[in-house]
């Protein structure tokens, strides 16, 4: 037998226990913070011609501000003992742009960001064991948690169903078994469920948020700009059996062109309103609420239509037995939300609040004819409070509770286990037998043995010893090239010569890459990873 102890020894030399937390938080610090700022870009005001342009964000090291105004470097033990928060100041460069021209960019402190112990800005980084002991810190303590008002809080990893993936399954409707294809479309914080279902008579219907009930598939396709029968069929499948189904659908079509389709949708989204408004609303709804992950303006409609076609195809394939219902518990269909991702969600909402406050303060200052000054209009407490409170209570943005938990210090092992915990948002009051089962794909990723007994059994999991979590999928062009190198042909011959449409497939590809973010890295499993079939 090979001596594997060498391998495990080398593995355990590097501190891996809370790597996922620390890596994720570090990437939030490096990329996430600036990303949120860049999404906002400017703070508009109601004052004519005046706005604030946001610049670069800069993060300091954890400090404590004493009552006399003195600012001191803060170490975790001091934070724990004095019941204060281990947080570092955030500085943001801001430029006031008014009708009189631009002022110089000034940096203002916008608030304190709670810092994960052991992350790159933590004051303990690079200290020797001896120095740590002098600071009252246990060198064996893994870190990976926050200290809020003196209590140690862990942001537990959340396990979620993968967004932007087509899932087919059977459902029951009034005693009939029907096939449905579902997609949880996610763009930033917003989630929208799109369902394509095949009714008894093979009629396809689609439902998505902001529209009550279901809407005819063909109507929606026409509204999205795929108008001719041929194009609709081609965007679904080339399979003759499926084409037969599609022809039935086209026969039952309620509308024959884009305008009619829009009117039809308008009636559904804004009944009882004027015709013009209805159409306007229909356009808005289609762009904003239908599959937001593919983009939210008119340019993305083609992609959306093609995606709908895929969903329809999946639906029919399930009906024809050419495809098995999706296994929701397969670990490839899961995404993990780590501390950094959750902090980003939190920071986005909190920062939004801050900008609203800045706008208000700015307007007030201008009404009183005071000099507009960046440092006076930013109230740092607004952001700090909004960041600290969710961490302290576990009530996250979006109404999720129990996201942050008090670190279990029963013993050393309890803490380690707590830091590697993964919780599933499924309700514990329902049986969910299948979700609680140990799934073979959890091999090497989740511990087969450690799960609580009782109502949380199988819903609360713990990482396996050797789990590796990747945080991002790298650059888009890289993936694109890789996919092409693997022999993927640029798609759909029937569209050759229609330049306009080919570009849309590139957009679709990009959307797909976005869907790749934050997934657990899998080995070269053919059934995991990029859903290659989309390019066939």
């Amino acid at each position: 037998m090979i001596d594997r102890s060498v391998l495990s020894k080398s593995y355990f030399t590097s501190d891996k226990i809370v790597r996922h937390h620390v890596d994720s938080f570090n990437s939030f610090l490096d990329i996430g913070l600036q990303k949120v700022i860049d999404e906002q870009r400017i703070v508009e005001t109601d004052i004519e011609g005046t706005h604030i342009r946001l610049g670069k964000i800069r993060l300091g090291h954890p400090v404590v501000r004493e009552a006399d105004g003195a600012v001191d470097k803060l170490y975790p033990t001091e934070a724990r003992l004095r019941n204060i928060t281990y947080a570092a100041p955030l500085h943001l460069g801001m430029t006031i742009v008014s009708s009189e021209g631009e002022k110089d960019e000034k940096e203002a402190e916008i608030g304190l960001l709670p810092i994960m112990k052991g992350s790159k800005v933590c004051n303990l980084v690079d200290l020797t064991d001896k120095e740590m002991i002098e600071l009252g810190e246990d060198p064996q303590d893994p870190g990976g948690y926050f200290i809020v008002n003196g209590t140690e809080r862990v942001i537990t990893t959340l396990e979620d169903l993968a967004p932007n993936k087509i899932m087919v399954e059977f459902e029951e409707r009034y005693g009939d078994k029907i096939e449905v294809a579902k997609v949880f479309s996610q763009r930033r914080g917003y989630r929208a469920l799109v369902v394509v279902e095949r009714s008894r008579k093979s009629l396809l219907e689609v439902s998505f948020p902001s529209i009550s009930g279901r809407i005819n598939f063909v109507t929606l396709m026409r509204a999205l700009g795929i108008e001719t029968d041929e194009d609709i069929v081609n965007s679904v499948s080339e399979d003759p059996e499926i084409i037969k189904f599609m022809l039935e659908n086209l026969e039952e079509a309620e509308v024959s062109n884009k305008d009619e389709a829009m009117e039809k949708i308008g009636i559904r989204v804004a009944s009882g309103q004027g015709k013009e408004y209805q159409v306007k609303r229909a356009n808005y709804v289609i762009d904003r609420y239908l599959m937001p992950h593919l983009g939210n303006d008119e340019a993305h409609r083609m992609v959306k239509a093609q995606f709908l076609g895929r969903m329809a195809q999946a639906c029919f394939e399930l009906a024809l037995g050419k495809r098995a219902p999706a296994d929701k518990d397969h670990y490839a269909s899961k995404r993990l939300k780590l501390a950094g991702d959750l902090m980003e969600d939190l920071f986005r909402v909190s920062f939004n609040r801050l900008t609203r406050d800045i706008k208000y303060q700015l307007e007030r200052a201008s009404m009183r004819n005071r000099d507009l000054n960046v440092s006076t209009v930013v109230r740092a407490d607004v952001l700090t409070e909004r960041l600290v409170h969710p961490l302290a209570t576990g009530n996250w943005v979006g109404g999720r509770t129990g996201v942050s938990q008090l670190l279990d210090r029963t013993d050393y092992i309890a803490s380690l286990s707590h830091l590697r915990r993964v919780i599933s948002p499924l309700s514990r009051s329902q049986p969910h037998f299948e979700a609680r089962d140990l799934h073979p794909t959890q091999w090497g990723r989740v511990c087969p043995s450690e799960t609580p007994e009782g109502p949380n059994c199988g819903l609360v999991k713990n990482f396996a010893q050797l789990v590796e979590i990747s945080t991002s999928a790298g650059s888009k062009t890289q993936i694109k090239n890789m996919v092409y190198e693997m022999g993927v042909k640029p798609i759909v011959p029937q569209l050759v010569g229609m330049e306009e449409k080919i570009t849309t497939y590139v957009t679709e590809l990009e959307a797909l890459e976005e869907a790749q973010e934050m997934k657990i890295e899998h080995e070269e499993d053919e059934d995991v990873g990029v859903e290659v079939d989309i390019f066939e």
């Binding site: 296994d327 397969h330 037998f433 089962d437 140990l438 799934h439 073979p440 059994c457 080995e523 059934d527």
Partner: protein, 885 residues
């Protein structure tokens, strides 16, 4: 002090309260929204008026003169400036409005039909059934009419908008005119409805006139049910209901002012709607379509219906679920030296819990002694109650003094002492044996102690379980507990008519070891074995060895059997031979007891076990529960000494099987694998014979499962051949103490197929369970067959499959407990009021017969011998036996 005499409720009447009634029951009209004046006294005709009852100590109620705590509170009322709809009736109102004439208020049905309906309703009511179906038919029929049969008025469609808007739609030349109905309009229509019409729609006009569903007067609940609390800062914080009432009064006033000032109709309507909103949220703050009224902090207010609804509401939280005094809860631990009906109570608990003694000439000295001892010296007293009802705390200091004062007519609250009857309970209380009466034994330390033989009825173990104890507070309660709930009267379970209390685990192994051995027991050992029993003499020794007398183990066991016991049965270790040799059984599995002497046979689960113990069963039924109790006590004590005499342990070596057995096992597994491969080959070749009612895939799965389980069984047999009666695990399994041969097979030979919901493991990656296997592999090991034994250790894939199978078990237990709890709750709720009457019928509270005979056969399962027809046999045997003599 006013002594309240309890009264029996004879009848409850349900109806609507009329405005008149509201005013009659009101003690004051409330007109100001303010609560307290500057000095902090309640304002007259305000919401905290002292006529409505008092909550502040020191004040007296202006209505009944009672102080805080004595005065139950009294209703007041608010005169609403304009009528509003009671949300609770909004849907009913819609139905009525659509069924009656908009002009004359008559129900739109022919008089003849009305009579028919009234008759139908009357008949249904008489039979105690609901008239709901008839009434909904009435509404359906009445709605059809387009014009009024009585005044000829054309009817208009009425649209209802949640929560309480009614809109009349008039259609003229195809154009619809909508017109909102104000509560006043609705009320006028309802007022016009005749009493007869009200009856047709199922209302009793004497108790519920339809117009009373529109509120013109609002009752103000007494202050006692909406007390304000004083914060540390001295600030008063009002109850949610008071807040809501303040809103109502404010709007009411504004409405009145505006109307008197002749404000435009638009403003009046707005205020009306606002008043409607406040009254609606006062009644129910969770009506859909109405934004909930919120507290300043943003918390939704808890108004009337929120107080009643839900798990923590008045019904489920306060009335069905109560909390009690005189109870204790702590961890339980075992003490085999206690008698089965005893419970060891920590001294700290015994000192806290009391029983009230009424001092009489017979016990006055005893009572004085307790008082003298005070609260600190164990059986002491904590309080005395003087003849005038004043409670005096007994302390170390005043004990002596107080003891002298104690006289007849006083009461002394004495601490618990040995022999007191208490109720002992472990949740979930699923059957009546979950609460039994025990006798107290005060013991040191901090846990409740109980004899492990009473674990089965409570379903208790000692891995951290906690139990509750309740102390009955009067003689009647104690007598009832002793007679009905005492452990000795609950040895038999009414579930299956056998003993539920009896030996478990080591009790059975112990007696098995003792009675199955051919040991010669010398005097010393014999005395030691029987030391804890009340046995004064040893029987005649069977013989002598090396000059010393010796006894057989069966003789020793016979000592705890009462005389006169005659019984014959097959023991648990019976091999179920084709031809039973009876008394000549070579396994010593045929038990014969004659006149309380064990002549032959081995004592095991069948004889003394909980659920199965035939000896216990017979002793309880044919002797007395006391004798059975004594037997269980003795048997458990004897068994423990018996097991300790020999020692009993199990280790990894006990799972050892010789190499040749191991290779046999490997061969069996090998050939099973081959067979499975053949099955798969046949399946792939399409040669597999399909089982009826199954698809070909299902057939294959079933065949494979069958083959593999056969293989596992035969490995077990091979292992079993090498593990004999000298193996402790075998002893435990065979005697029924714990575990089974299957467990042993898994430890020593082969763990076997791991299954999820009865099937082999199928889920996983595309085409295979784990990447360790080929795609499409249907073989045994690729779908969760574990070839290894626990002793030899599992391979990584086997370990993982085992974890999958194990997880299912965990999930199942977790989910099942909650489901069975709910099932039980529903059963109990449905049947809690049923009662077996003296005439043998089962009836509900209305005296309606549910069963003519209890259980349709009148049999008491508790006394029916394991629910088998053997009861008759027993009687015949005993009669015949006596005839023989």
């Amino acid at each position: 002090m006013v002594v309240a005499t309890p009264k029996r409720i004879k009848q409850i009447k349900f109806g609507l309260i009329s405005p008149k009634e509201y005013r009659k029951m009101s003690v004051t009209r409330v007109i100001t929204a303010d609560t307290y004046d500057d000095d902090g006294f309640p304002i007259d005709m305000g919401l905290m008026d002292t006529k409505l009852g008092v909550i502040d100590p020191g004040l007296r109620c202006k209505t009944c003169g009672g102080r805080a705590g004595e005065c139950p509170g009294h209703f007041g009322h608010i005169e609403l400036v304009a009528p509003v709809i009671h949300v609770g009736f909004a849907k009913l109102l819609r139905k009525i409005l659509r069924a009656i004439c908009r002009e004359c208020g008559a129900l739109l049905l022919d008089p003849k039909k009305k009579e028919e309906y009234i008759e139908q309703i009357r008949i249904l009511r008489k039979m105690g059934q609901s008239a709901e179906d008839v009434v909904s038919e009435v509404f359906k029929e009445a709605r059809k009419s387009g014009t009024c049969q009585y005044c000829g008025e054309a009817q208009q469609d009425i649209k209802f908008e949640k929560p309480s808007a009614y809109i009349e739609v008039d259609e003229v030349d195809g154009i619809k005119y909508e017109h909102k109905l104000m509560p006043t309009d609705i009320r006028t229509r309802l007022e016009k409805m005749s009493d007869v019409d009200a009856e047709v729609i199922g209302m009793d006009p004497n108790n519920a006139r339809p117009e009373w569903m529109i509120l013109t007067v609002l009752p103000v609940p007494p202050v006692t049910m909406r007390p304000s609390i004083t914060l540390e800062s001295g600030q008063r914080s009002e109850d949610d209901l008071t807040h809501k009432l303040v809103d109502i009064i404010r709007i009411n006033q504004r409405f009145q002012e505006n109307r008197e000032a002749g404000a435009p109709q638009l403003i009046i309507e707005d205020l009306w709607e606002l008043l409607q909103y406040h009254v609606t949220t006062f009644i129910d703050n969770a009506v859909s379509g109405v934004p909930p009224a919120r507290h300043r902090s943003g918390r939704p207010l808890k108004t009337l219906s929120q107080r009643l609804k839900g798990k923590e509401g008045r019904f489920r939280g306060s009335l069905s679920g109560k909390r009690v005094n005189f109870s204790a809860r702590t961890v339980i631990s075992p003490d085999p030296n206690l008698r089965i009906f005893e419970v060891g109570v920590p001294e700290a608990i015994a000192k806290e819990l009391t029983i009230t003694m009424n001092v009489t000439p017979r016990n006055i000295e005893e009572a004085r002694e307790y008082t003298r001892r005070g609260p600190e010296n164990h059986p002491g007293a904590n309080y005395v109650i003087r003849a005038d009802g004043r409670r005096v705390k007994v302390t170390e200091i005043n004990g002596e003094e107080l003891a002298e004062l104690v006289e007849i007519g006083w009461k002394v609250e004495r601490q618990l002492k040995d022999g007191d009857i208490v109720l002992f309970n472990r949740q979930p209380s699923l059957h009546r044996m979950s609460i039994m009466a025990h006798e107290i034994k005060v013991l040191p330390h901090k846990t409740f102690r109980l004899n492990p033989a009473v674990c089965p009825p409570y379903n208790a173990d000692f891995d951290g379980d906690e139990m509750n104890m309740h102390v009955p507070q009067n003689e009647e309660a104690r007598a009832e507990a002793k007679i009905l709930m005492h452990v000795k009267n609950n040895i038999l379970s009414p579930r299956f008519g056998g003993p539920i209390i009896g030996g478990i685990h080591d009790h059975i192994s112990g007696l098995f070891l003792l009675t199955n051995s051919k040991d010669k027991i010398n005097k010393n050992d014999a005395l030691e074995l029987l030391a804890k029993m009340e046995i004064r003499e040893l029987p005649e020794p069977v013989g002598k060895e090396n000059g010393a007398p010796y006894w057989t183990s069966k003789q020793i066991f016979s000592q705890i059997l009462p005389g006169g016991l005659d019984i014959e049965f097959k023991a648990e270790i019976c091999e179920k031979c084709d031809q039973c040799k009876g008394v000549d059984c070579e396994h010593d599995a045929y038990v014969v007891i004659k006149d309380g002497v064990l002549e032959q046979g081995t004592i095991d689960e069948k004889a003394v076990g909980a659920f199965k113990g035939i000896i216990i069963d017979k002793l309880t039924k044919e002797f007395t529960p006391d004798i059975a109790c004594k037997f269980i006590d003795d048997a458990t004590r004897l068994s423990i000494r018996g097991i300790m005499r020999k020692g009993f342990s199990f280790g990894i070596d006990d799972e050892y099987i010789p190499d040749e057995a191991q290779s046999q096992i490997n061969e069996v597994l090998e050939s099973a694998s081959d067979k499975v491969e053949k099955l798969i080959a046949a399946y792939k070749a399409g040669e597999l014979e399909q089982l009826p009612g199954r698809t070909i895939d299902e057939t294959l799965e079933m065949e494979i499962m069958k083959e593999l389980s056969k293989a596992r069984d035969s490995t077990g047999e091979i292992a079993g051949r090498h593990l004999g009666m000298e193996n402790s695990a075998v002893i435990m399994a065979r005697s029924g103490a714990r575990g089974s041969m299957l467990n042993l097979t898994q430890m020593a030979a082969c763990v076997g197929q791991q299954a999820v919901r009865g099937e082999r493991i199928q889920r996983g990656y595309a085409g295979r369970t784990l990447p360790h296997f080929d795609k499409g592999d249907l073989g045994a090991s690729a779908h969760g067959f574990v070839k290894s034994s626990y002793k030899n250790g599992l391979s990584p894939t086997e370990y993982f499959f085992h974890a999958i199978g194990g997880r299912e078990g965990l999930v199942d237990t977790a989910v099942r407990t909650s489901q069975s709890g709910y099932l039980q709750r529903r059963l109990v709720n449905a049947m809690q009021d049923l009662e077996v009457q003296y005439d043998g019928t089962v009836r509900d509270t209305r005296n309606m017969i549910i069963q003519f005979k209890y259980g349709e056969d009148g049999i008491d399962p508790m006394n029916s011998d394991f629910s088998k027809p053997e009861a008759a046999k027993r009687i015949i045997d005993s009669v015949m036996g006596k005839v023989k003599e």
